[in-house]
Amino acid sequence: MTIGLGRLVCGSLLASAGFVGAVSACELKIGVPAVLSGPAAQWGIALRGATEFVAKETMEEKRLVINGVACTVSVKSIDSKYSAEGAASATSALAAEGIKVIIGPVGSPEVTGFKPVATRNRMVAMVNSFAKNSIGPEWPTVFHIGPGPSGWAAPIIDVGLQRYKFKTAAIVAPNDQGGTDIASVNADIFKQRGVTVTEEYYQRGTTNFAPIVTRIMASNAEALDLASSPAGDAGIIVKQIRQAGFTGPIFRLGGPGTDEIARVAGGLDILKDFLWYEPVYMDDNMRALEQKYEKLMGSVRPENSDFFRWTFAARMMIKAIQAAGTIDNAEKIAAAMRTLPVEDEHIGKGYWIGQKFFGINQEMSYPFAIGVIQGGVKQPLIRAEAVSEK
């Protein structure tokens, strides 16, 4: 025990010593609580990849210069395990290294566990999560990398309604926070457009969705929304509901992952008519960003396309640090961030939003894209303008 305690104490002393050294030489350490194990690992891997890329980019291009000294940027990522206490302990570990700047975490339970710890330790953070309380006035130094379905579900549903006729829809989602929050938002938006909605929730860990598919078929839904069902689950649902004879359009109003859904379902033919939210519109700019990643990091970018949004978020953070002129004062960095325009060299201009939905204007909104598969053929993405609250 004494040895264990000793290890802890020594470790912390070393850590704080390192931290003291860091101030003089301008060494920015970005903390990344990212889920790296379990079913959600791909989200965390995209987050980690984006942050590491931005760190390297910042150093190579000397983007962060404080008091005339170009800062070194390093990334410390810790597995936050897609659970509240996993994120809390990861965040505490980051705090112990004197880290004040956080990119992540990804999921709703993680963000729930993360926020109190981050607030106690005066950190500034860019989080994801589609939960209804991801950000809010209680957590003034927590920013959101982009809107959830509250921002982009409406335009996608409109595209769907133009192309297909349906009066009823079913929404499937897991029965936890990540599922119910999104499904209820989507349901409201469908209802605003005169569509009758049934919501179906399943227990996380379900492997065979045939019973739920039968329920949906019995509800005579003409359209289906997979909401935030994890890609693997969504793939099985699509496979099984098509087997059951469902022919209507399928929405995926809960995040990226269409490629994986298609693989699990058994190909684009099975998806047939499918619409989804794509974080970015893949144009030359985005391909340039991909190439830049490959050149800098020597490997292909993480597959999950949230990689792009995390890249914009990390760059925004660097800009805010530059503007604040400090690498360790969370309030100053947050204040600087609020004054900066939402803009990125690769995707262009966006807006600060969030006042209406969260009560705090700390959500970045960039242009996004609507993905469409029609008759089993992938259509070009539809570019959608950034959502604005003005």
Binding site: M1, G4, A15, A84, E85, S92, K132, G178, T180
Partner: protein
């Protein structure tokens, strides 16, 4: 043979209530009270916090191990304790730490009585499986009972707890609360298990014999289940207090595996083993988390290696070594692992 002088009964040696291991464990838990006052390092504070919560939760496993029962029910009772605290502080504005701790102990302990009546008849693997299923059910109920538990969102935004009207809100204060809860749990557990150690040892080794000698085994099983639930409830309180949130994911069924692992890897024979197991494995988890995707695998490897190499757990092996160094034979077991002595049973 009958001509020899009759021997009289050896004098009675009254064993002390606590063994050396108990004292060491209690002393270590006591020492942690120093940390909130001397350290402001969030890592040390958080790590100590997590270790103490893990150890407290694992006490629930430890108590049931006295009866040779392996309980997966710890997260269920942690959830009951944690949600009770969250509800009391959010709905009724009760924030006094003593009131909350009492509620966090009593509520699960009371719930355990009817449950115990149902499942304590089971033994061995059946008890393992039924407690596992119980944890799954509690998890589902947390989701389904939305109006009370907040469903999948959990209960967020608890006020800070108070001691004598003083708010305990920052990192050291939160750790102080955890230290207090852990200390109470360790005292309760050690007094309880040592006070009734002959009863527990008898039920563990041969409950049929114990009953035939007049021992009401069910009473002790029920008491143990209830106290284990109460102690788990305190761990739930500490966890909820640390996160300021009562969330279903904090009480996931698979987390019971961790608590069992702490107890067994540390050495299930004494309360010290539970503490050491939590200390080693929480530190290891934390260390492994740095290796990202690899971390569960490394943890698994560690479990296998310790189970294979250190039978009787870390504490068992270390104290065995110490006895050997001192040239003594280890004392007879008080619920220590039976390594399977065969061939002496005649027939």
């Amino acid at each position: 043979m009958n001509n020899r002088v009759p021997k009289s009964l050896p004098a009675e040696i009254r064993p002390s209530l606590f063994s050396g291991h108990d004292w060491i464990a209690l002393a270590i838990v006591c020492l942690t009270f120093v940390i909130p006052f001397t350290s402001t390092n969030p890592q040390v504070l958080s790590q100590t916090n997590l270790i103490l919560i893990a150890a407290t939760a694992a006490l629930g496993v430890y108590i049931m191990q006295r009866l040779d029962l392996m309980s997966f029910a710890v997260p269920s009772f942690m959830a009951i304790g944690g949600y009770t605290v969250a509800l009391l502080s959010m709905k009724l504005q009760l924030t006094d730490v003593f009131v909350l701790a009492a509620a966090a102990f009593l509520m699960p302990a009371l719930c355990a009585i009817p449950l115990g009546a149902l499942i304590l008849r089971l033994k061995g693997v059946y008890f393992v499986l039924v407690t596992f299923v119980l944890t799954e059910i509690v998890q589902l109920l947390l989701f389904e009972a939305g109006p009370i538990t907040g469903g999948s969102n959990g209960l967020v935004g608890m006020p800070a707890v108070k001691i004598f009207g003083m708010e305990l809100w920052d990192n050291p204060h939160v750790l102080l609360t955890t230290c207090g809860l852990a200390f109470v749990s360790f005292i309760v557990t050690s007094v309880f298990t040592r006070w009734f150690r002959s009863e527990f040892a008898a039920i563990e080794t041969n409950d049929v014999l114990a009953e035939s000698l007049g021992l009401a085994a069910w009473k002790y099983k029920a008491m143990a289940f209830s106290v284990a639930a109460g102690v788990s409830g305190l761990a739930g309180f500490a966890l909820v207090n640390m996160l300021l949130t009562a969330h279903p994911s904090s009480f996931a069924p698979m987390s019971s595996v961790n608590y069992i692992t702490y107890t067994i890897v540390g050495g299930k024979a004494s309360i010290l083993g539970t503490l050491i197991g939590a200390l080693l494995l929480v530190s290891a988890t934390d260390y492994f988390a740095l290796s990202g995707e690899m971390s569960p695998g490394l943890f698994g490897l560690l479990i296998i290696v310790v189970t294979m190499v250190a039978r009787g757990g870390v504490v068992g092996v270390v104290s065995g070594l110490l006895y050997r160094l001192a040239g003594q034979s280890p004392p007879l077991k008080n619920g220590e692992q039976d390594l399977g002595v065969n061939g002496e049973k005649g027939q």
